[in-house]
């Protein structure tokens, strides 16, 4: 009994440790005070300010389209890469797979500086092009990582079976291979979106001068140690947190459904 209470307490403590800062933020997003720590009564004023602030709305829009575009392009590239690795001969596949995963372990600041150097060398530094490519460099390895296991689960003969039945290589790919690895592609896409949404370092090094995402904007806003300038950011952060939680819940529930179906048969 004592053991049980102890273990529950430990769990609660860990959860509090992880979530306390976020909860604090969410709670203080409901008070109009300029600094966290001073409660000035419940109000939705910050949310009002947030939606009336056209600058923040523009930045929110920027962040989302950047995430969607980078995630979509990374998903196409990463899926193609994973399929290429999977169907290569083993001698080629192994080093190729290892090489594709280097950006994952590479320090992000190194990636960011290398990108900045590369793009300034080809006169594309701080353009939308460099920004999108930067985010793709960030996301693509994770797409490869989430698609490859699905390919390995697949019966590799099904591609040949499709060719055998008269499908062209493209038809075989889209009618037979892609549907079988679709869950991997989808999770790679979602992973890319979250990676791109909250990225600061690569964005800061590759973005056009007058362009901001939420990360770079918030960073600039609180750079001087005060967050007094735009308390509405608290409301924005709280909203992002809630939306993310909702997305994760939906994905998890969706993932559980087909599994439950299988076992019930």
């Amino acid at each position: 009994m004592v053991k049980k209470i102890l273990s529950i307490t430990l769990c609660v403590l860990i959860l509090v440790f992880i979530y306390a800062p976020i909860l604090l933020l969410v709670v203080y997003s409901f008070t109009p005070s300029n600094v966290i720590g001073r409660w000035e009564g419940f109000s939705l004023a910050l949310y009002g300010q947030l939606f009336r602030n056209t600058e923040i709305m523009q930045i929110l829009f920027n962040t989302i389209w950047l995430a969607l575009a980078a995630a979509a392009l990374s998903t196409v590239l990463g899926t193609a890469g994973a399929i290429g690795i999977f169907y290569s001969r083993r001698k080629v596949a192994k080093p190729l797979q290892a090489a594709s995963q280097i950006p994952v372990i590479n320090a992000e600041i190194v990636t960011a500086i290398s990108l900045a150097l590369l793009f300034s060398a080809v006169l594309l530094y701080r353009t939308y092009f460099s920004l999108i490519i930067g985010h793709m460099v960030l996301c693509t390895p994770f797409v490869v990582l989430s698609v490859l296991p699905k390919l390995k689960q697949m019966d590799s003969n099904t591609y040949e079976a499709a060719l055998d039945l008269g499908a062209s290589p493209a038809q075989a790919l889209f009618k037979v291979v892609v549907p079988q690895i679709f869950s991997g592609i989808l999770s790679g896409f979602m992973l890319s979106i979250t990676l791109s949404l909250d990225d600061y370092i690569v964005t800061a090094f590759t973005k056009p001068p007058m362009f901001d995402t939420i990360s770079t904007y918030v960073y600039n806003a609180v750079k001087n140690g005060t967050n007094s300038s735009t308390p509405a950011l608290r409301a924005l952060s709280a909203l992002i947190f809630v939306v993310m939680i909702a997305i994760i819940l939906i994905i998890n529930l969706r993932a559980r459904k087909p599994a439950a179906k299988e076992t019930s048969k």
Partner: protein, 506 residues
Amino acid sequence: MAELKKSEKIIEIVNVSKIFDETAAVEDVNLYVRKGEFITFLGPSGCGKTTTLRMIAGFDIPTSGKILLNGKDITNLPPNKRPVNTVFQRYALFPHFNIYDNIAFGLKLKKIPVTYVNDKGETYTKLQKLTRKEIDEKVKNALAVVDLEGFEKRSVSTLSGGQQQRVAIARAIVNEPEILLLDEPLGALDLKMRKEMQIELKEMHRKLGITFIYVTHDQEEALTMSDTIVVMKDGRIQQIGTPTEIYNEPANAFVADFIGDSNILNGTMVDKFTVRFCNHNFQCVDDFEKNEKVDVVVRPEDIEMTDKENGMLSGRVISVVFKGVHYEITAMVGRSEMVIQSTQSRAVGDIIGMNIAPDNIHIMKKEFTVNKYDGYISKKNTVIFGDGKFDCDVTQLYPGSHLDEEGYLITADGEKIDLTDVDVTVEVGLQSIEISDNADEGGAQGHIVSLIYKGDHYQYIVRTEENEEDYVFDSEDLWNENDFVSVKIKPENIRLQLKQEMKQNG
């Protein structure tokens, strides 16, 4: 077999080789397949049978050679352009489709020419997809052929292995291919299911009237189902023939050992149509050169047991096993074991006589009589060949010579010769090789890739990893296939000969 007219050959494989990463999976294969026949590629795993099938399907392209379909070259045609469909070993059904969509997959992609008449009365043809109704009809018929009526809406994962195999067959035959390729289709099924499917496949072949090309490692399956069997080993064809020919007239010891049970014995031709083995001269129907060493094959059911006085051979029974239809009796004749299948039983310890009719004695050319290698002398009394290094006696190269203290060879005339790096040919007899578990003990190391029982001994082939050099030898000890062993050869058993050009120079 008589030469066939061009029109009767549906597939012709001409000098085809396939090399993967420097190792040949298929080497210089030539064969043809007659229209409508059931042909089986039979052999142990890694013999090249599946690679040959994949080249006919178009999944692999031959490194050299040609494949003709109805006389037309299809060597480089992609699989989707060939009128050939495949049933895969592990079915390869599409798990995201139901049974109907699996079978209709090929039909939905198919375009057939339809002839129309326009307003001016001119006819023209257009490529058109099949209508929904036509597809429905064909899928239904295909399901009826494989006895799965009403399964259209089921998902693949709800079917048993046997049912999935039937769907895979339906998915292939629904496209009305000219040739159906089957890659060990029954390999994943249990014995009873396999027997049932064998009969059903044969029945299907009769009804559909198309050519079946079947791949299996199961000799019984091949004998039961095929019109023609192609026995393969190490990428080469060993024998092509009807099941009866393959069984009764095996071309070599490998085929005899692989197909059915057999007694394989060492024999010598002592006269025209007379062979000597087990210390007795037998009349036979095969003609070989006098004094030639040969392999003799006698099937266990072809040995007739009699009293010891009336037999050509006599031996002591050492084991009797009841096998249902017959007894399997093993007798020692001299130092050779003889396996006999008979409906009569004998007791262990009995002395029995044995008779063998002349046409039941099959004589085959010996595949290996000696091991030959190219090698070179490395230093004092050491020769390198066959991926290994062996002690040898180099004085045999020059009669009457001897070695001095520094390792130079002094010939009978007193001439001093440095033999380092001199090229030689090396011969080692089949009786002169021993193997050992201890990898350091012998001069070369390799895996046992083949063993064939020959009455009183086994014939082994040890193959090295680096250059795939073979050591063939006879031994009475039993080792297992794939054992990693080292090869020992006594110096006096390594016969060296200088290469011709060296002799002239020296």
